[in-house]
């Protein structure tokens, strides 16, 4: 949590606490409604700030994801001897078909 937005959230929370204290003794309906509306507004501000902090981290997250993608790509390109033998087997197989074409009795 960044220090500045944490401070702002703390300010809103303190304001909510004071408004609740005010509501504990306030009898005027209109004033109470106004205080309640302020509390709701501050709660949405705290929510907004929390979402903003999450959104701000996305850029850093994306950079780290690019780094990990590069590591995955590198680790996936593992040339093993068995792969080479498999590849050689396929090449020789294809070549042997060319060198020794199968009998084609259906030729005209």
């Amino acid at each position: 949590m960044s220090k500045s937005t944490k401070k702002t959230s703390a300010y809103y929370k303190d304001a909510i606490r004071k408004l609740r204290l005010y509501l504990a003794v306030e009898t005027d309906e209109e004033n109470c409604e106004e205080a309640a509306a302020k509390i709701r507004e501050y709660r949405f501000k705290i929510i907004d700030e929390a979402f903003d902090r999450i959104a701000k981290r996305t850029q850093r997250l994306t950079t780290l994801m690019y780094d990990l993608q590069a590591i995955i790509a590198n680790a996936s390109k593992t040339d093993t001897l068995s792969d080479a033998i498999g590849g050689l087997k396929n090449i020789v197989n294809e070549t042997s078909v060319i060198v020794n074409p199968p009998d084609n009795n259906g030729d005209t």
Binding site: R43, A55, I72, A75
Partner: protein, 360 residues
């Protein structure tokens, strides 16, 4: 062209076996890596648990983002709400993609950790030999005849070398991914504080309604209590009320004191009649019910905090197990050298046995 291809006469089994052995020893001397299976399993298990928990939390947050955008008390206009919603969904989706990416990375590690199969390699070599023989070149046919009896030994050597390559790749991948994976998990941990805050505020929005109603009832009771002269019955009733107020969970001490009633009659107080007492009793009961509802939301916040604390612990455990895996990969090199040495000696033994059998 093929007919011009010359296979050197000296290309015999002995040279192949020697080559394989020398190469294997060279590989061993360079360095060795062993995959610490226990640490790898722990990391994957922690990761899977953390991923499941995190995805559930992130998907819930997407629903919450929609809910906030449509909330009647949201002070933002429709355009701002929509813009914020899109940003929030994008940020949450990025987290879900990060989990998917780490899963892909783990799959690569699993592939690297899995050993090669000598039987499959031997089949490939046999097939390769058969196809070479079909070319009708005497030198090639002879080579295949010479080499085919040691296909089993060559396969074992190939497995050793392949596994060595894969384990080295595994080590490289684990070491290189420390920064991005720990960084991603750090971000998810930082997010958890904010997710907790959002969830808490959404619960508190509902609790505020209970609090408003509670405060209204308390003020009504206070107003009535101050109208009447002090009596034992009134004192008992207010004492009951004050005890109820003390039951408010997680509430500020100043607010609790403000909600308590200490009668301060003003003007000319009158004695309360039975109906008025009944009305005050009903108010005290209603206040008690509101306190229960209020406390139910406080319990929700408490449960949420406990869940988010566990989630944070899970993410930390996943980070720790990945660090331990990295340490394990490096520490296991000594053990790996011994294992590799044993494998190489076994291979050498097989080659000697083959030679002996051939000489008989």
């Amino acid at each position: 062209m093929l007919n011009k291809c010359r296979i050197p006469d000296s290309f015999n089994v002995r040279k192949i076996s020697m080559g394989v052995t020398i190469f294997a020893f060279c590989v061993m001397l360079t360095s060795c890596t062993q995959i610490p299976q226990g640490e790898f399993e722990t990391y994957r298990s922690n990761f899977n648990t953390a991923r499941t928990a995190s995805e559930e939390i992130l998907l819930t947050m997407k629903v919450r983002a929609e809910h906030i955008a449509q909330h009647p008390d949201n002070p933002d206009g429709p355009n701002v709400r929509q813009q914020k919603l899109e940003e929030r969904i994008e940020a949450l989706d990025a987290r879900l993609r990060a989990w998917e990416l780490i899963t892909q990375y783990n799959d690569v590690l699993v592939r690297l950790a899995s050993g090669s199969e000598p039987a499959a390699i031997e089949n490939d070599l046999t097939s390769l030999g058969s196809n070479l023989s079909t070319f009708g070149l005497s030198s090639l046919t002879k080579l295949v005849e010479d080499v085919s009896p040691v296909f089993g030994i060559i396969s074992q050597a190939v497995v050793m070398i392949d596994d060595f390559i894969k384990k080295e790749k595994f080590k490289e991948a684990v070491t290189a991914a420390q920064k991005p994976i720990l960084g991603i998990l750090d971000i998810l941990r930082e997010d958890s504080d904010d997710i907790s805050e959002i969830e808490e505020q959404l619960i508190m929005l509902k609790q505020d309604d209970e609090y408003m109603e509670l405060a209204r009832l308390v003020n009504r009771l206070r107003s009535m209590a101050n109208t009447y002269t002090q009596s034992k019955e009134l004192d008992n009733l207010l004492s009951q009320h004050n005890k109820s107020i003390d039951q408010l969970k997680n509430e500020d001490r100043d607010i609790i004191n403000a909600l308590k009633i200490l009668p301060t009659p003003s003007g000319n107080p009158v004695d309360a009649n039975s109906i008025e007492f009944e009305t005050m009793k009903i108010l005290v009961d209603q206040i008690g019910e509101r306190i229960s509802s209020y406390n139910a939301f406080a319990d929700q916040v408490e449960t949420l905090n406990a869940v988010m604390k566990e989630y944070n612990v899970l993410l930390t455990a996943t980070q720790s197990s990945f660090v331990i895996l990295n340490t394990g990969v490096h520490e296991a090199q000594r053990v790996a050298t011994i294992t590799f040495l044993a494998d190489t000696l076994n291979l050498r033994k097989a080659i000697i046995e083959y030679r002996e059998a051939k000489q008989k």
